[in-house]
């Protein structure tokens, strides 16, 4: 068997899973080699010198040697720990959604320079932004564009007439904006003028600029709906991490209702004791 030379590559750690008692399998995303699964040996032991350098949602320089079935990480050095993505659960949730998208849409040994740069720029923006959801939505649109599912925003996807900002619809199945006539005929979901303008703005602007645009809750929800439907259409599946985003959004309500139900059961007990 020919001996494979050790590899040295920069990569973003997308995810990890435990292996045996002390190891982890890390999924790395490299600009030159795409998705790489590599074993990080001993990283679950408290004195491991490597454990902090192979944490998901960080960028590092890795030495890899070909093992029997997977690569083995021989050395790792963090280049960018992106600490805010770990310290703030909201940023973390958005970063995980991006990482899951890349994890599910890339193959091993396929050079993925543009997607790598997109993910890197987006995670950098996410680490410094005040609007994590806006950065993730920008990433989603750019991801769709890069992967060949670019939503059409200039002409109607059904009749090819050029569209203005008013009265349009959006059809994830047909792949973009639907003109007022076709929308009136029952095609696509309502696409309001602010969301149409924002989609066009996102396409020509950076993540940082997009994050600075003020968007009300209603427009935010509409944009989220259109993008996630386009994404589901492209992936033919729903992102797993999106359920956690929903759990997180409900967290405070769950806490408050737990207090209310405890108070109600206390009142009920007092009432029964009085009887």
């Amino acid at each position: 068997m020919p001996r494979i030379r050790p590899i040295r590559t920069e990569a973003i750690v997308l995810r990890q899973r435990p292996l045996g008692d002390a190891d982890r399998i890390c999924v790395l995303f490299s600009p030159t080699r795409g998705r790489i699964e590599a074993v990080a040996k001993g990283v679950r032991k408290p004195l491991s010198k490597m454990s902090g350098h192979v944490e998901p949602l960080s960028r590092g320089q890795f030495g890899l040697a070909q093992g029997r079935s997977l690569f083995v990480i021989t050395d790792a050095q963090t280049l960018d720990p992106w600490s805010p993505l770990h310290d703030d659960v909201e940023r973390m949730t958005e970063a995980l959604a991006m990482a899951e998208l890349v994890d599910r849409s890339t193959d091993a040994e396929v050079s993925s320079g543009p997607l790598y740069q997109l993910l890197r720029r987006s995670l950098e923006s996410l680490a410094s932004t005040q609007s994590p959801a806006a950065v993730r939505r920008w990433f989603t649109l750019r991801f769709l564009d890069q992967q060949g599912y670019q939503p059409e925003l200039d002409a109607c996807v059904r009749c090819r007439t050029e569209v203005g900002p008013e009265g349009n619809g959006y059809s994830a199945v047909d792949g973009g904006v639907v003109c007022p006539n076709c929308h009136g005929a029952g095609h696509g979901q309502r696409l309001t003028s602010p969301v149409f303008r924002l989609l066009r703005y996102m396409r020509r602007s950076s993540a940082q600029s997009t994050a600075q645009v003020r968007v009300d809750a209603q427009a935010s929800a509409e944009l989220e709906r259109h993008l996630s439907m386009s994404l589901e259409q492209a992936l033919d599946a729903r992102l797993r991490s999106s359920s956690f985003a929903e759990d997180l959004a409900r967290a405070e309500t769950i806490g408050r209702s737990a207090v209310q139900s405890a108070a109600e059961s206390e009142r009920e007990e007092q009432r029964r004791a009085a009887i």
Binding site: G20, T78, H86, T93, F244, D247, L248, A251
Partner: protein, 209 residues
């Protein structure tokens, strides 16, 4: 695992059973199987009885969700322990580790896992509801989050902070930093940052002796 024709099928079955245990490779499985074979019958019987007993007589404590053979468990029944503090951990083994250190005299709550968004493991898959039901009255004043300092642990702690924060209970998180015996030169940036952020005052009286 490949079966050798020279190994009797009953021994091969035992080797395979040991090999399925975590951390047991094919060689260790073989050694264990032959050890059982050579050991006195009473030892083999004691092992098989212990295996069956652990399956038959253990359950989850209705209060803290730790594995126990008496419900509520000994820790939940101990009157010497404080009811005002609950230490939340991911796994039953974490309770054992903290108890060995003898640093917590309050109660525990075992979640039986951690939130892992990319694997589809959410709060509904853990013992979160059971934890919230313990915090409803004013008895519990502090919840200590003792999750592992990794992504799943951070996600779990972040979620619990939001839920418990809305209940008005004080939440603390165990400190992060360098483990005993570690080298500063090999530490990653996040660990060093945490260690620096949570640095403590050196006691001058103690240092002057």
């Amino acid at each position: 695992m490949q079966r050798s024709p020279a190994t009797a099928p009953t021994i091969a079955r035992l080797i395979e059973a040991f090999h399925r245990l975590p951390g047991i490779g094919p060689k260790s499985a073989q050694r264990l199987a032959y050890h059982v074979l050579r050991a006195p019958r009473a030892e083999a019987e004691a092992l098989s009885e212990a295996l069956l007993e652990v399956k038959d007589s253990t359950r989850l404590c209705a209060v803290c969700q730790n594995i126990t053979d008496a419900d509520p468990c000994a820790v939940c029944l101990d009157p010497q322990r404080s009811d005002s503090t609950i230490c939340v951990v991911e796994e039953p083994l974490d309770v054992a580790a903290i108890e060995r250190a003898g640093v917590h005299r309050g109660r525990y709550h075992v979640l039986h896992g951690a939130i892992s968004p990319m694997d589809g493991v959410g709060p509904e898959d853990l013992k979160v509801r059971e934890l919230l039901s313990r915090l409803g009255d004013a008895t519990v004043e502090e919840v200590i989050l003792a999750m592992n300092p990794n992504l799943e642990g951070e996600a779990t702690a972040g979620y619990l902070s939001r839920v418990i924060g809305a209940m008005g209970v004080r939440i603390t998180r165990i400190a992060h930093g360098l483990p005993v015996g570690a080298d500063v030169e090999y530490a990653d940036e996040r660990t060093l940052r945490a260690a620096m952020t949570h640095r403590v005052e050196v006691d001058r009286e103690e240092g002057s002796d």
